[in-house]
Amino acid sequence: MALIEYRDALNQAFAEEIERDSNVVLMGEEVAQYDGAYKVTRGLWKQFGDKRVVDTPISEAAFIGMGIGASMLGLRPVIELMFWSFCTVAYDQIVNNAAQIRYMSGGLINCPIVIRGPANGGTNVGATHSHTPENWLANIPGLKVVSAATPYDAKGLMKTAIRDNDPVMFMENTLLYGEKGEVPEEEYLIPLGKADIKKEGKDVTLIAHGRAALTALKAAELLAAEHDIDAEVIDLRSIRPLDEETILASVRKTHRAVLVDENKPFCGVSAQIAAMLQEKVFDDLDAPVLRVTSLDAPAIYSPKVEPKQLPRPQDVIAKVLSVC
């Protein structure tokens, strides 16, 4: 297996899918000649040319709507948002067109698009650029929402997302683009709706997605080394569809759950999981379900302070110790 960066794992997924299917087209701001604002698409324009890798003006509503319209004729656009935060100016296209067109046409029209880009705080770019909209989007029936924590997951999930016949909102992370991980040489796909048990354990279940899954893993290491607590770490990978079975089975085994989530707490992804746990495994729980989320205020700029706003391993450990 090759050790490659998260951004290159995505890059491989794009290259392979462009080669496989003539209807796949990448579009977005700076994705072609500039090689991508975060170099995720580097080299692809040179390799595949103007038709398959398309620079767009800064017009998110128009190019996302254009991608949706083109998908109705059979194209499979993979559309980059330089930041997922910018989905706000294209929200009508995503929420009213991509998500509803199949339903409102009684199943006559499909929207096989991927909208992708980084969705994270922690980079000192202020509140407007630090949104984590996975909960906004997972709230809309008709959309699928995916979040990748590792290079392996990023590639496998992206290839599946591109082949999926429904609109998939793919959440990446600027803090992870440079992280390396092992990725097989041979082709593989990761299904949407399948969580990954990143570490097995028996004392408490940590449930997370995206970079928070790595925070949970780090916390689990420290819990084992310093507190003799054996935590299980579940990475959701896919938020909608959601792998309910894996989550419930784990909590039935460990009897405790702490949710780690870079979303804000109010109606965040972890709120949905917490509701599900109390409805479905209430009798298996030995302690309240607790959550570690981003602190509930706009993302602060101050570089020395912002890290405290996101879930840190020590925050996770503190919550775990309060229930174990």
């Binding site: 128009a62 009684g106 008709g142 709706g193 569809p241 792998d243």
Partner: protein
């Protein structure tokens, strides 16, 4: 109004001069079918029993949809906003499926899931039926993008109202249409009112909306919308530009709706517009009456034949009401169908993970 005194006679435009008698009668029949369909729909709506929500009537504007859609070839596509019944019938959708949709029945074109504002028929190159003002304009751009990507010689006819020209995504779309040289034709149906706000009160330039395309080097034109020959001549020019040079056009057609923004718009008569204004349009600018007189003058139609066409359309509309009444409602389970392709097809993806969270 005597058509003979018109400044320009569009009957002689090449796209019209070659029309056969039957084709001309089809244009008239098409307009009558829209009017009769909507009159029946209005009658059912006001009974308050079978329909809910909004009903945006197209009556008064029939020449625009029929004229434009009569020009469509195999690779020409149509998308519009919420006042969509006319375009739906113009592309060849049946009254039955449309009326059943208004009744919220399982036999409706969208299985009762879309309603009045959301008719679709992709097999007839008709992509809706969109509820958010201006929201369809990037989709029209995308249809044009898809055509060009696939190397097809076609046009995307994207209809919008005079109110929609003030939405931002329309301008983003114009810039990209021009920049990427996409074969989209934005047809502004200027009926002078965005709900209860007159053009006078919504646009800084009062006498021309299409001109806004100049900022993006998009070719534009204004034409009358009441004379179906003029509509066809103007739209044909735009379609040819799309087909032959893959360039966008903005075409503004002057038209008028006799009813309110929707049926729920109580102030359209004697409120934001005068009764006299409405009556003048009905008397002197009605597209059906104008074309009827035209065809009689051309010796292709008699009063009796016109009445027969009108009665046939009314009978068809009444039959569609009966069809809708007799049709079944969607099953409760249908609420969860047509949300996700993969779930509907029960593919492996559709069977993996939880897609719905109501239990």
């Amino acid at each position: 109004m005597d058509t003979a005194v018109k400044a320009k006679d569009y009957a002689s435009a090449p796209i019209n001069s070659k029309l056969s008698k039957e084709q001309k009668l089809d244009l008239l029949r098409g307009m009558l079918r829209i009017r009769r369909f909507e009159q029946e729909a209005l009658s059912e709506y006001t009974k308050g029993k079978n329909m809910g929500g909004f009903l945006h009537l197209y009556i008064g504007q029939e020449s625009v949809a029929i004229g434009a859609c009569s020009l469509m070839g195999d690779n020409d596509h149509v998308i519009t906003a919420y006042r969509c019944h006319g375009h739906a019938l113009a592309v060849g959708m049946a009254m039955n499926e449309c009326m059943a949709e208004l009744f919220g029945k399982a036999t409706g074109c969208s299985k009762g899931k879309g309603g009045s504002m959301h008719f679709f028929a992709p097999d007839k190159n008709f992509w809706g039926g969109h509820g958010i003002v201006g929201g369809q304009t990037p989709l029209g751009l995308g249809l044009a993008y898809g055509l060009k990507y696939k190397g097809l010689k076609g046009a995307a006819l994207c209809f919008l109202g005079d109110g929609a020209v003030n939405q931002g995504c329309f301008y983003e779309s114009l810039n990209m249409a021009s920049l990427f040289e996409l074969p989209v034709v934005y047809i502004i149906e200027n009926n002078k009112y965005s709900m209860g706000t007159s053009l006078e009160r919504s646009s800084v330039v009062k006498d021309c909306l299409a001109q806004r395309g100049e900022a993006f080097l998009v070719d534009w034109a204004q034409a009358g919308g009441e004379d179906i020959y003029e509509v066809r001549a103007a739209v044909q020019t735009a379609i040819e530009r799309a087909h032959n040079s893959s360039k966008p056009t903005i075409l503004e057609l002057d038209t008028y709706r006799y009813y309110g923004h929707s049926v729920a718009d109580a102030k359209h008569k004697g409120g934001y517009r005068s009764n006299d204004e409405i009556e003048i349009y009905k008397k002197d600018h009605d597209p059906i009456q104008l074309f009827k007189r035209r065809l009689i003058a051309e010796g292709l139609l008699t009063e009796e034949e016109f009445e027969k066409l009108s009665d046939d359309a009314k009978a068809e509309a009444k039959a569609s009401v009966q069809y809708a009444e007799d049709s079944p409602l969607p099953e409760d389970g249908a609420i969860f169908e047509d949300v996700y392709f993969e779930v509907d097809r029960q593919t492996e993806a559709g069977r993996t993970g939880k897609h719905f969270f109501h239990d």
